[in-house]
């Protein structure tokens, strides 16, 4: 149990930005799928999850500032999201692997927060229901792709392997979040292992983070694709300083 658990203080900026930026950035990535999904049902599902996450991001960012100023006027180094969520969509398997790793984490994290008395409890109680669907979606697709065709199996394995090194950062403690990070990691590993094995895939064997990824996103160190993502996301807003939309 971390010391922070005992002190349900007002929500700190670090905590709101960490969770809010995770949701904002993943929502943006999922939004990039619009019109490009492998089947129409997935256009609906991916947009649905993008909207859930955007709603969470707006609530979280508004707790500590103006949502648009925070989303559109911060530089890359001021974003506190984990590097996992900023990774490009890749093929559908990469998107599903990113969803699996992140939605299991987010569900367990919000589950813990919902059980606390802290300022995030109401948000977490609502979000945990949304995220349960995201997790269900990711798990079902992991099974279908892992245990589908030889090609889908290979693509899914490659995606799990490629994103594995970004998963360690999920469990770096965030200042002001009353979370038992060790229990979170154990629960996550058990859940992910279960799905991966059921899908006839292999849990990646390497370390969950490299020297460069450990806790880096939370400190504002991101990967190259993130800068381009922000350039696209922010350019119109920044082109009209002070305008309302």
């Amino acid at each position: 149990m971390s010391p922070a658990r005992a002190t349900p203080a007002p929500l700190g900026t670090a905590a709101a930005l960490a969770l809010g930026d995770d949701a904002l950035v993943l929502s943006h990535r999922l939004g990039e799928w619009a019109g490009n999904a492998p089947v129409l049902e997935e256009d609906v599902a991916l947009a649905n999850m993008a909207l859930d996450l955007l709603g969470q991001a707006r609530t979280l960012l508004s707790l500590v500032g103006d949502e648009d100023e925070l989303a559109y006027l911060r530089e890359e180094r001021a974003f506190r999201n984990v590097q996992l969520v900023e990774q490009p969509n890749g093929d559908f398997a990469h998107t599903i692997a990113r969803q699996l790793y992140f939605s299991v984490y987010q569900q367990l994290l919000y589950g813990q927060l919902a059980a606390e008395d802290g300022p995030l409890a109401p948000l977490a109680a609502k979000a945990v229901k949304e995220v349960a669907y995201h997790r269900d979606h990711a798990e079902h697709w992991t099974l279908r792709l892992g245990d589908g065709t030889a090609e889908s199996h290979e693509r899914m394995q490659r995606a799990l392997d490629a994103l594995w090194r970004y998963t360690g950062e999920l469990f770096e403690p965030v200042d002001g979040l009353p979370v038992d990070w060790t229990a979170l990691h154990d629960g996550w590993l058990t859940a992910v292992t279960g799905v991966v094995e059921q899908a006839t895939l292999t849990l990646p064997g390497g370390p969950q983070s490299g020297a460069w990824t450990a806790g880096a996103g939370r400190q504002g160190i991101h990967t190259e694709p993130f800068g381009r993502m922000l350039a696209e996301m922010q350019h119109l807003h920044r082109s009209h300083p002070g305008a309302s939309w």
Partner: protein
């Protein structure tokens, strides 16, 4: 199944009587082959328009200038995917499959609305599409809620409710721009200038040149002529443009007391036919993008089918 001539005559009489009495034709009812073919063509074109129409708007999701606008736009594009789903399902009740219809779209053998062959060049285009394109679509589609074919009519009721929401959102987006900075106002005016005439073309060719209209009216698939609907749309838009503080790009547009309608200038039908022939600004881009998404997703659909076959799961 073979049907004897007197039997066919009796079935046709039952069908004609049902249409005459404004009853709904349902999937299991007998219907003339040409009625079925007309509906498949029209519903497929409508479904294809929903999914191709996602592209010009999705073009701005990643650049939406506020989080509120981004949420509205993503929800709208999601609704369009949902409309595509209802419409492909309605077409399936006529004995065709979604895969078959998509193959025809990708092969260029079925159409989608030509309006989506125009590009979305600025953020204001998202508003202009909502106000004008969705507005024109609603004018066309509200009468389809009373279409003689039940599944299509019911799909349209749901779609029209959502479309009218989109239309108001587009109007509200343009209003914010029109009342915003000088640059925002100019952006809104430019978008309306570019989208106005193509929106009027959405009602199709003039009545005397419309090849499918007469039979569709007789079958009560269509309830009003192209020109009637176009006039209705112009009459609705003129006061709305005034409230927006924007002008419509037609020097001939004026109220005609005698007709009780607005007169408007000549439509450039050459442009309409050129776009229809595939020479619009984005025809190739739209269909290539659609084909690419479909081809890149093939391995995913195959995996879902293989998994379902192994595990007895319903197909994804």
């Amino acid at each position: 199944m073979t049907t004897t001539a007197p039997e066919a005559g009796r079935l046709e009489a039952v069908f004609d009587a049902a249409v005459a009495a404004d009853e709904r034709i349902e999937p299991r009812d007998w219907m003339p082959d040409a009625y079925r073919a007309t509906l498949v063509r029209q519903i497929a074109q409508h479904a294809h328009s929903e999914i191709i129409g996602m592209q010009p708007e999705a073009n701005w999701i990643t650049r939406a200038p506020s989080l509120r606008r981004k949420a509205i736009l993503m929800a709208k594009v999601q609704d369009e995917a949902g409309h595509g789903l209802y419409l492909y399902s309605a077409a399936e009740t006529l004995g065709t499959s979604r895969d078959e219809l998509l193959d025809k779209l990708h092969a260029g053998r079925q159409r989608y609305s030509s309006i989506f062959n125009y590009p979305t060049l600025t953020w204001a285009d998202v508003g202009a599409i909502g106000w004008l394109v969705d507005g024109a679509a609603i004018t066309n589609q509200v009468p389809l809620c009373r279409c003689s074919y039940g599944p299509y009519a019911r799909a349209m009721i749901r779609i029209c409710k959502e479309e009218s929401f989109h239309q108001r959102q587009g109007y509200e987006l343009l209003l914010a721009l029109s009342r915003g900075t000088e640059a925002q106002h100019a952006m809104a005016q430019d978008a309306v200038d570019r989208w106005w005439w193509p929106s009027l073309m959405m009602f199709g060719p003039p009545d005397d040149e419309s090849s499918h209209s007469a039979q569709s009216m007789a079958w009560k698939i269509k309830r009003h002529s192209n020109d009637e609907l176009r006039q209705r749309f112009v009459d609705i838009c003129v006061p709305q443009a005034a409230s927006l503080g924007l002008t419509l790009p037609d020097p001939d547009l004026r109220w005609n007391e005698e007709r009780g309608h607005h007169d408007f200038g000549p439509i450039d039908w050459d442009e309409f036919h050129e776009v229809l022939r595939g020479n619009g600004p984005c025809n190739d881009q739209r269909i290539s993008r659609r084909r690419q998404a479909h081809e890149e997703g093939a391995w995913v659909r195959e995996a879902a089918a293989a998994y379902a076959a192994k595990h007895g799961e319903a197909k994804a």
